[in-house]
Symmetry: C2
DNA sequence: AGCGGAACTGTAAGCGGTTGCAAGGCTTGG
DNA sequence: CCAAGCCTTGCAACCGCTTACAGTTCCGCT
């Protein structure tokens, strides 16, 4: 690997001068600059970012840690990767302009992953964390040492920068569409994993909204884990009961898609026999037949704002922690029993 | 930020000892070790990875550069992100076990992006590059300085490690299904971007396969760019002609989905009025109605192998360059005119 | 008692950049 | 002709960690 020393030697100058040229300092004679640039070019010199980082006390790297539900072997369809990936792309787009790059780690909760995140924190200037990657107390500890922004973590965190989507209003609107507009009375809910704050919030909002309806009831709560497979399993539970509720509300789209396929396989028609809804409004939700009624989250916006907030905090570590809540809204398509074109595609 | 010096001072030892404890060296007195560990714990010390990297001459980071067709504002549906994201996840899963993490950069071809990749190369031990991120000559130059593995780049590269899917056999099988089994005669093709080697290969294979059929003809080639929108545009071109071909073959699934929606909007039925196929077998392709006949690529496998190959090369820089070709296969669903359950879902 | 060696620990020299400070060369003005 | 001052450049310290090498200390033996 060629270093500044090599360049300096070949160009017949000191390393200080090479460094000045690299960084575009004004105090270098134009002729010298040219000479050094030529050598850099011919040697294909690229400065070692680690040495620079050590000297500059900044690494120009942002870490991104997220849960990878399902482990290494998961396929895209079994997973909520779409959500995470959109956030990654959004964050990367923000950082791109600023010279930072994104360092990824995925994992599933546990010692090993926490260890990985810890060591990651030595490689970066700041950390973006999606969902509840680790216990809150550890999170607080981390935040003391390094700028940290949490995405879709628990809302009630006053000591951390958090970005969340407002699950409540979206879910409330959705349920009131089901119980009000459609007059469905008997509803089921398919939950997400217990360690996902979003999942818990959606469930709570669902329960509250149903109870708020005059005569609607929660017929059953079925546990899922955000995966399509767990949606299919939930459908099988329903099938096993012999009777369908009037509407099935899922904590995310992937599970709704799992439910959809499993029920259709069993000749149950959606929405004629039972209404079905999701949450997230991921890309595939509008592609399935019938198109899924769901709640749209500003996913990219979440990523964008999180990245911006992190940059701000890196700039100014003393910023008071702030929780930003982004709005969600029900998007009515067909699976709830509405006619096509009501508001779709 | 706390450093080894802080730890050493508090623990009353030298930095060398702290370092030994951190790295689990055997030559430290158990009592001393305990004491140092306690201090590390209480100070929340995490070693600066950059200083470690400088000293160890390894960074434990792998770079990943990919094209981000559509720019910063693209949404997931307008983009081939699904493909890239799957590769990222697969590669990350391989690296995870080895202590490496993945440093991402996306961009669209051009000076600025190449510059970004160059500087990225100073931050990593090796580079994974998806598609034709930069001109081949620059790629060769890069590869001289740093271990590099190209995914889905051009095949004919004997000086680089390359991983490609065998577009030809998949496309050939697909076309012969269309012209043989279904006896379609008049086919159209929607191309991908010119700078994507995969797109070029698929087109060439398509043309060759059609010409190989006795009486089938290429009715029209329509230019697309892998985005769903460009598929819709292609459909509009067809609609504008007044007549449909018998089959529309798209260079990827996203464009096929765009075509599908646009044609259905115009009351054209798939596959009754015109057959349609995609390429890649991304997750949504089985969700659309009708399910898309397409060609399945071992995307995750591509990412996995690329990462493994890169690790091997980092271990042993002198390895002779190698091109690995992974098989693809036609997956027959409904959009080609076959009945459901032929081989689907 | 004196010595060899094992077990620990400390000293200090890098790793490859950056940058404050000082020095050398020139220009300019008195 | 000399001093002052600007422009360039080099010297060397430092960023935080690792590790070769050089002590210390403490045993066990002879």
């Amino acid at each position: 690997m060629t270093t500044v020393y090599d360049v300096a030697r070949v160009a017949g100058v000191s390393t200080a001068t090479v460094s000045r040229v690299m960084r575009g300092s004004a105090l270098v004679n134009p002729d010298t600059r040219e000479r050094v640039l030529a050598v850099i070019e011919s040697l294909g010199f690229v400065p070692d970012a680690y040495a620079q980082g050590l000297s500059n006390r900044r690494k120009d790297v942002i870490g991104f840690a997220a849960l990878d539900r399902g482990g290494a072997e998961m396929d895209i369809e079994q997973n909520s990767v779409l959500f995470v990936d959109q956030i990654v792309h959004a964050a990367e787009a923000v950082l791109r302009g600023t010279g930072y790059s994104l360092l990824l780690t995925f994992g599933s909760r546990g010692q090993e992953f926490e260890q990985r995140v810890r060591s990651l924190s030595g490689k970066v200037d700041g950390l973006l964390m999606a969902e509840e990657v680790m216990p809150v107390e550890d999170l607080r500890g981390l935040a003391k040492r390094i700028p940290l922004v949490v995405i879709a973590g628990r809302r009630d965190e006053s000591e951390l920068d958090v970005l969340v989507a407002d699950n409540v209003t979206g879910m409330t609107a959705l349920v009131s569409h089901l119980t009000g507009h459609h007059r469905y009375r008997r509803l089921c809910f398919v939950t997400g994993p217990k360690d996902a704050p979003d999942a818990r919030e959606r469930q709570a909002a669902f329960e509250e909204a149903v109870l708020a309806g005059r005569d609607s009831v929660i017929e059953q709560i079925i546990h899922g884990d955000f995966s399509e497979g767990s949606g299919a399993a939930a459908a099988r539970v329903l099938l096993g009961r012999g009777s369908m509720p009037e509407a099935i509300v899922c904590a995310n789209d992937q599970m709704a898609i799992g439910v959809l396929h499993e029920l259709q396989q069993a000749q149950i028609r959606i929405p004629q026999d039972v209404a079905l809804t999701g949450f997230d409004d991921v890309y595939p939700s509008r592609l399935v037949d019938p198109p899924l009624t769901t709640v749209s989250q500003p996913v990219r916006e979440l990523g964008t704002r999180a990245a911006q907030r992190l940059l701000a905090r890196i700039d100014q570590r003393a910023l008071p922690p702030q929780a930003q809540t982004l709005p969600t809204s029900a998007v009515i398509r067909v699976s709830c029993g509405c006619l096509p074109n009501h508001g779709a595609h």
